[in-house]
């Protein structure tokens, strides 16, 4: 192969590799993000289910049991009847306050889309603002005006030397602008412009104040509606509040501790295992894809460097009429992405295996186990994940043995999806 032909093909390959290198994050992370989103949603659902299992109804006995099963002590000593009464009282008082609020009483008068006082004032302020802005534009669109204005032309802060050409250019443009705006001096033009600027600031302030008033009235209306709804279905609303609070606790509580608190309750234990497993899946898949991305990036960069070296070498004068061995040239021009494609296919198979794992019941909090081994059945090397690496360091000579299947319908009997 003639060197010129080789160089042409090599440059083409180089461009392809550069494009492939740039597209790597999108290709790998795109698919990962979809899967991550699905796992996140599953985690949210599991958390909801766990909160619901621990707080199925709103009654005193259920509230009293929450701490025992979840370690969440906020409901300890809470008198439900008193709490509901206090909340009812709070809402009633709030409704009364809103309904007595003059802004709420005059809400239609204030907010009517065509004749509302605030609506009209806001419209007027916007029109005034538009008028001022169009006046300002006249000045600002005039070539060199803003430049002269900012440099303080005809003010003590103007620093242009009389010995510079710019000084005379400024003088000429200043006179032209003054004449165009029908003024006697540039200072008059400046004063007119600054008047408009001040007017704009005042107008903006007025508009903001009116819009705030409108927002406040709307908030009062929304709050009143919410308060009515809440009051109409108070036990359900309070149950929702309590579940949200409990859920926030469950979202961050130590999983092992949570499992101990579950005290052997199968449903709770199953959900906690599922929650922990999903969180590990999220972490593992992220680590896997980042590791893969790094490997591919490194491989492509190495190939690109080699190709660049060949291009640099054979671009030299002494090789301009050289002939290259076709075998060698073909080897240098081989597309490295073919090899990557096969590796990537295998990677996605492993990735999917981790991401779609659902036998959470196989994990045992009591045993010193690693989720990675449970999920991969001990068949994948996960030393690139810090947690896995540290575990292996702490357990030299360790080999994973899959524990026997649970005897009961521990997994099959519970629908936690």
């Amino acid at each position: 192969m003639h060197v010129s032909q080789f160089l042409s093909l090599a440059q083409q390959r180089r461009m392809e590799l550069q494009r492939a290198l740039a597209a790597l994050p999108t290709e790998l992370m795109g698919r990962h993000r979809e899967r991550e989103k699905a796992l996140d949603q599953l985690r949210e659902k599991t958390l909801d289910a766990l909160a619901e299992v621990n707080l199925p109804t709103l009654d005193q006995a259920t509230l009293d049991a929450v701490e025992r099963f979840t370690g969440y002590g906020r409901f300890r000593g809470l008198n439900l009847a008193a709490h509901l009464a206090a909340e009812r009282e709070r809402l009633t008082q709030r409704i009364a306050v809103i309904m007595a609020d003059e802004r709420f009483v005059r809400r239609e008068e204030l907010l009517d889309p065509t004749a509302g006082v605030l609506t009209l004032r806001a419209r007027q302020a916007r029109e005034e603002l538009a008028l001022i802005e169009s006046g300002l534009q006249r000045y600002e669109q005039e070539p060199d005006f803003l430049d002269l204005y900012r440099r303080g032309y005809r003010t003590p802060s103007y620093r242009q030397s009389v010995l510079s050409l710019q000084y005379y250019k400024d003088w000429k443009r200043g006179d032209e602008i003054t004449e165009k705006f029908g003024c006697k001096t540039f200072s008059e033009v400046r004063a007119a412009y600054e008047n408009l600027l001040r007017g704009k600031a005042v107008c903006q302030q007025t508009l903001k104040s009116i819009e705030d008033d409108i927002r406040q009235v709307r908030e009062l209306i929304t709050e009143l509606n919410t308060a009515h709804q809440r009051l109409g279905n108070l036990p359900q609303a309070v149950l929702g509040d309590f579940r949200r609070m409990l859920r926030e606790h469950l979202a961050l509580a130590d999983r092992k501790q949570l499992f101990q608190w579950a005290g052997g309750d199968r449903v709770r234990e199953s959900l906690i295992k599922q929650l922990d497993g999903i969180e590990r899946q999220i972490a593992y898949t992220k680590a896997m894809v980042e590791h893969r991305l790094e490997e591919e990036r490194r491989y492509l960069s190495e190939q690109l460097t080699r190709l660049n070296q060949k291009i640099a070498k054979y671009s030299r004068q002494k090789y301009q009429n050289a002939w290259l061995s076709p075998n060698k040239a073909q080897a240098w021009l081989r597309d490295p992405r073919e090899r990557l494609a096969a590796q990537r296919e295998r990677f996605w198979r492993q990735y999917d295996r981790v991401a779609t794992y659902d036998r959470y019941d196989r994990y045992d909090f009591a045993a010193d186990m690693l989720w990675w081994d449970v999920i991969t059945d001990g068949r994948l090397d996960g030393d690139f994940i810090p947690e896995v690496y540290q575990y292996r360091q702490a357990h030299p000579g360790y080999t994973y043995v899959r524990p026997p299947e649970p005897q009961s319908t521990y997994y099959q009997g519970i629908d936690v999806s």
């Binding site: 370690g71 969440y72 002590g73 906020r74 300890r76 809402l91 709030r94 709050e223 009143l224 919410t226 308060a227 809440r230 509040d241 609070m245 409990l246 926030e248 606790h249 469950l250 979202a251 961050l252 509580a253 130590d254 501790q257």
Partner: protein, 576 residues
């Protein structure tokens, strides 16, 4: 993390306690210095001592071979025992491949088995204690060239010490190898080739006087009645053939004396019949030395450790000599008695004390002025710091000079005690030293570290300190500790240890806001959490929700934390 240093300590020398005590004292200080350097020390002690409980108390794992005495008592053929013992030592050292081998008393091994394995460890230290004159001195000398460092343990009253480091020694630098090596030292003449590797150290003691319990505590622990003269009786570790007879005779002679309370240190190896009574405290556990401040006087066998522990603690002592294979106790008694540091007591051939001599000794020990004189003289003949200095020489072989120098400055007794109380591992220590590099003095560090509330771990503190800007000087460090104390005080009132650790790890933090402002609002937040009885996990969730996305704006960030506190206080975010 830096690789752990593997140390094998060879303390194979009969059934007794002495050699194990010396090796453990050295290892204890090696571990302290290593911790102060942020290095993990994996220590394997090979021993034949039957007093394994001592190592357990000191937190060292002992790999044990039966002593010759135990093997003989069990009727094992001597040849079998020796074959197994040699192979066991060879294989242990070969398998462990230590970075440092520490050998006590016998440089070639008790069974002559160390020769073939002395090329395995990277560095080797020999602890040379005094042996009786003529005790195979030539054989000793032949092994010495294999060692990188030879530490010669001095005797009370006669010691001079090397000081090529900054230890608290009372004696000046000692060009030992130039002046004295022609003379036998501890019974050995050092060959010219090894003289530059030899260092003298004071007696190696398991506990220095400043580590002992105070007198009131010690007397309470020993069960000594108020006003009684507490008299320590000991015949060494208890393994001596005459120990039971000697102790029985001493107790029989002294028990009738009403004003004396006997504290009998029978020793961990004592297997005879105990003698208990109203005026007797009978002890067989190790580490009784910690209570020596409670004693008024002592009558003890003149073993190396017992003698120096009593003298260092300032206990007026009468010593009697036991017959030992390698230890010349009679010479020790004579030397110390000549120095006026002890009273000599003679034993008959059957191991019982001479009655007249005992009466004279008791009469002397009853006199306060005699006790005061003995105490003053005793403390003057014992130089302290031998264990620490030996450990320094040992670590000098495996650590680089800068690392060891920094560790030495840190390793004050106060800081070491704090590290041991908190049971810190080397990794945590390394992180702590990295963060507090601006402070080199251990006492200064200890003062700050002691202020950490008990319910909060050091890991938690390190997690917090890492969030702060780099601590460039002592003022920064002082400020950082102050902030940590405030936060830790607020934190310890809420949640359990696991929750607190999680909170500190995930606690939102703004690089833009001033740390003191952040600590102020976070303290207020934690106070709200405590008042509301809220879970720390949920509190963290609320805090994360409020502060998400505002880290770059200090004002918004601080307001967000206060809003989070408000939500925690009311249980919900307000409104309808």
């Amino acid at each position: 993390m830096t690789r752990a240093l593997k140390v094998v300590a060879y303390a194979v020398n009969g059934a007794g306690v002495g050699h194990l005590t010396r090796v453990l004292a050295l290892l204890r200080w090696m571990r302290r210095l290593a911790l102060c350097a942020g290095r993990q020390l994996d220590v394997y002690v090979l021993t034949t001592s039957e007093a394994g409980s001592l190592a357990l108390r000191e937190g060292f794992a002992v790999f044990k071979l039966p002593s010759k005495t135990a093997a003989r008592a069990a009727g094992l053929p001597k040849k079998d025992y020796l074959r197994v013992a040699r192979q066991w030592v060879w294989h242990s050292i070969g398998l462990l491949q230590p970075d440092l081998l520490v050998v006590d008393t016998f440089p070639g091994g008790t069974f002559g088995e160390l020769g073939p394995v002395l090329d395995v460890p990277a560095r080797k230290l020999f602890v040379c204690r005094e042996v009786k004159a003529g005790f195979d001195a030539a054989g000793f000398a032949a092994w010495l060239p294999f060692y990188d460092r030879i530490v010669v343990v001095g005797e009370g009253g006669v010691v001079r010490h090397s000081s090529d480091n900054d230890f608290y020694l009372s004696t000046p630098a000692d060009p030992f190898w130039e002046e004295t090596v022609e003379e036998p030292v501890n019974g050995i003449v050092f060959p010219a080739a090894v003289r530059s590797r030899v260092r003298r150290v004071p007696p190696i003691l398991l506990r220095e006087p400043e580590e002992l319990h105070d007198r009131t505590t010690a007397r309470r622990r020993l069960g000594i009645p108020d006003g009684a003269l507490a008299l320590w009786l000991s015949a060494g570790g208890g393994g001596d053939a005459m120990a039971e007879r000697t102790l029985a005779a001493l107790v029989a002679a002294l028990e009738p004396l009403d004003d004396i309370h006997l504290v009998v240190g029978a020793g961990p190896l004592f297997t005879g019949a105990p003698r208990r009574g109203r005026s007797i405290t009978w002890l067989t556990e190790p580490l009784v030395v910690e209570d020596f401040a409670g004693l008024d006087a002592a009558i003890s066998a003149a073993g190396f450790n017992a003698t120096h522990e009593l003298l260092a603690a300032g206990v007026p002592t009468a010593l009697f000599a036991q017959e030992k294979i390698a230890d010349d106790q009679a010479a020790r008694v004579a030397r110390l008695a000549a120095a006026g540091a002890v009273l000599p007591l003679l034993l008959d051939a059957d191991g019982t004390p001479d009655a007249a001599g005992l009466a004279a000794v008791i009469a002397d020990l009853r006199q306060p002025e005699v006790r005061a004189r003995l105490r003053a003289q005793a403390q003057s003949v014992v130089v302290l710091g031998g264990a620490r200095q030996s450990a320094w020489y040992a670590l000098q072989l495996v650590l680089d000079a800068g690392e060891l120098q920094a560790a030495t400055a840190r390793a004050t007794m106060r800081l070491c005690r704090w590290l041991e109380r908190r049971r810190l591992d080397a990794e945590s220590c390394a992180r702590l030293w990295a963060l507090t590099a601006a402070v080199t003095d251990g006492d200064e560090l200890a003062e700050w570290l002691e202020a950490i509330p008990e319910g909060v771990t050091l890991e938690d503190m390190l997690t917090f300190l890492r969030r702060l800007p780099r601590l460039a000087n002592i003022a920064d460090l002082e400020h950082a500790f102050g902030l940590w104390q405030r936060l830790a005080e607020a934190l310890k009132a809420v949640g359990d240890e696991r929750a607190r650790t999680m909170f500190l790890r995930q606690m939102p933090w703004s690089r833009q806001a001033a740390p003191e402002d952040q600590v102020r609002v976070l303290t207020a937040f934690l106070s709200a959490v405590g008042t509301a009885g809220e879970s720390l996990y949920r509190a963290l969730g609320v805090l994360e929700r409020h502060t998400a996305g505002v880290e770059s704006d200090p004002w918004q960030w601080l307001s967000a934390v206060l809003k989070a506190a408000e939500e925690v206080r009311h249980g919900h975010s307000g409104g309808a």
